[in-house]
Symmetry: C2
Subunit: 354 residues, 2 copies
């Protein structure tokens, strides 16, 4: 796979986004967020999504020039309307508004309605951690998952995320969907014609299935049964019901519904660590927690106990050193969009051993 | 099983707690919290725990007269020291401080250190819902659970809870431990000499086990593998690291460590719904979400799709009508403590068909 520098990938993303109608500043924020996912090895939420965002802008289903509106405000809360703008940009702007509010009041929170799929939640959480804050973030997303006892696609895979600053050179990064499995694993099994375990998905008739093809036409199941259902509903109420966005099955599909907006809702809750404890004491305590976990007794066959975020930090270090891998399908999409938007394709492969 | 009225059970609990040194007001708060668990069918967190709380007060391991200290305060946050008081009482007092802060600023949050096992999180969440607020609550607890790849008891079963007001006569109530299974299920299997499924627990040597007896000597596993590990760690950082309480394996066991305090930490985040959306619109939207879920297609063999909190609300209605069932072992403990503390045993069984 070809590898490219962060700067090259951000520059091309920025050029394409500006050509699609975004301002230079917004295009820059968008490029940083997208490329960050590829840096951390989350290629499903990085440049592989740029084509569909550009397509939706072209179709008028995302407004590249939207401004973020404050609909309600208290000293420590914001109810925001993303005005159908690019989700990543509106979310970064929301976070930038929340940081001084949290630094002043100890905590601040925002709902964001009328938004889009906005990539990896951990991007925003890690940004907050760099300010010695803890961001708890949730979002609803397009329908894919059934409640306990049901077989409708009543929810998205409704993720929950939070990052915590440490003295270890990387934040503890928690970012998980509430589904039993990422849909990507079912797609992979389907491509290889392999069965999937019971408990991952239902077929279109609402019956449990081990057939990956059928599963892709049906719904995924929640993680840990009714516990995942409860957490998915918690995410839906915080991100969807409370924000004023579409709820559950009403949310537009990014790829399938090319005739209407998504209307996704996000929820941010930002804590200033210093409001609870001196920053240095917090770092000492979280580092000690990490040390204790990693020094613990291991299961046979396990080399190392990892803390959440550790693997992704290692991947980011590797990709920063070697260049960020971009697959041939994504490169082709980028080239096509360069032609379409009259942007020069500028990527040059890094001179690295892969 | 004998059934008793709420009033009778609260009165006896209050008398015993006062005899153990609590003020009348604190004993009243404690009694309400404990009996509420039994009303909702969560007998593991109700009067079945009163004996151990009284025992720990008698041993000087819980201070029945402790006052809640504010260690740090901002407009929307409190860092609290429970001063080793009764957890339920300190948590209700913390919530009562947070409600006006959230009503004013839109959100308010508290950490509480130096506390105890404080019963069912949903008790506090439901109280908040009655004020048209959303409480997200977490607590750490005594060590029982291993991280992914490890076999030490690095965490408690670290629960997460939140309740949401509805127009349906009960709040949506989410309250779940991050373990694969409640330890109670392993105890039940052990009593019946039945095996447990792989994936629930490790034996004392750190190997996966299906032997319930061995599992009780070992550790439980997280729900949904690494996702439960991540959530348990999130709970530990919010409730333990950030509060200044004991962390993970340092926490004292309620039953086993009768020589030291527990030093549990709690985390509360309280949102005022009206800061984000008119209360009536929120209720309309959450009720519509519930209606859609319940009207959805059902799996074969499923009669009804429930939302979290619905079953427990039905149980509470039944127990309010018929009286609250209290098992013979718990009755015996209550009688014993009445003798010990020179309190008249006042319970009279309700005249109901069970």
């Amino acid at each position: 796979m070809n590898r490219y520098s962060k700067e090259q990938l951000e520059a091309l993303t920025k050029s394409l986004s500006q050509a699609a109608g975004m301002s230079a500043d917004d295009a820059h924020l968008f490029a940083e967020a997208l490329v960050d996912a590829d840096i951390h090895g989350v290629s499903t939420h990085g440049l592989s999504r740029l084509a569909i965002y550009l397509r939706r802008m072209e179709l008028g289903l995302i407004d590249p020039k939207a401004t973020l509106h404050v609909e309600r405000q208290r000293a420590a809360t914001l109810a925001l309307d993303a005005a159908n703008g690019v989700g990543h940009v509106q979310a970064v702007k929301a976070l930038d508004m929340l940081i001084p509010m949290a630094k002043h009041n100890g905590i601040a929170s925002a709902t964001i309605r009328n938004s889009q799929h906005f990539g990896a939640l951990s991007y925003y959480c890690n940004r907050a951690a760099a300010h010695d804050c803890i961001l708890i973030a949730t979002t609803n997303c397009e329908p894919a998952m059934s409640p306990t006892g049901g077989s409708d696609a009543s929810f998205g895979t409704n993720p929950i995320a939070a990052s915590f600053p440490t003295g270890k050179g990387f934040p503890i990064k928690i970012d998980l969907s509430t589904s039993a499995i990422a849909r990507g694993n079912i797609i992979a099994a389907s491509k290889k014609n392999q069965p999937i375990p019971l408990g991952w998905a239902l077929d279109p008739g609402g019956e449990p299935t081990t057939d990956a093809q059928e599963a892709l036409l049906g719904t995924v199941l929640t993680m840990a049964g009714h516990k995942g259902y409860a957490l998915a509903l918690m995410v839906e109420v915080l991100s969807g019901v409370l924000s004023g966005s579409a709820i559950g099955s009403e949310i537009g599909s990014m790829y399938k519904n090319l005739d209407r907006k998504q209307d996704v809702g996000h929820f941010f809750c930002l804590l200033d660590i210093d409001a609870f404890m001196d920053r240095d004491e917090f770092i000492r305590r979280i580092d000690s927690t990490i040390d204790t976990l990693k020094a613990g007794r291991k299961l046979s066959g396990v080399d190392e106990i990892l803390v959440p975020g550790e693997r992704s930090a290692r991947k980011a270090a590797e990709n920063t050193r070697l260049g960020i891998p971009i697959g041939p399908e994504v490169l082709k999409e980028l080239e096509d969009w360069c032609s379409r938007l009259n942007v020069t394709f500028t990527l040059n492969q890094e001179q690295v051993t892969n």
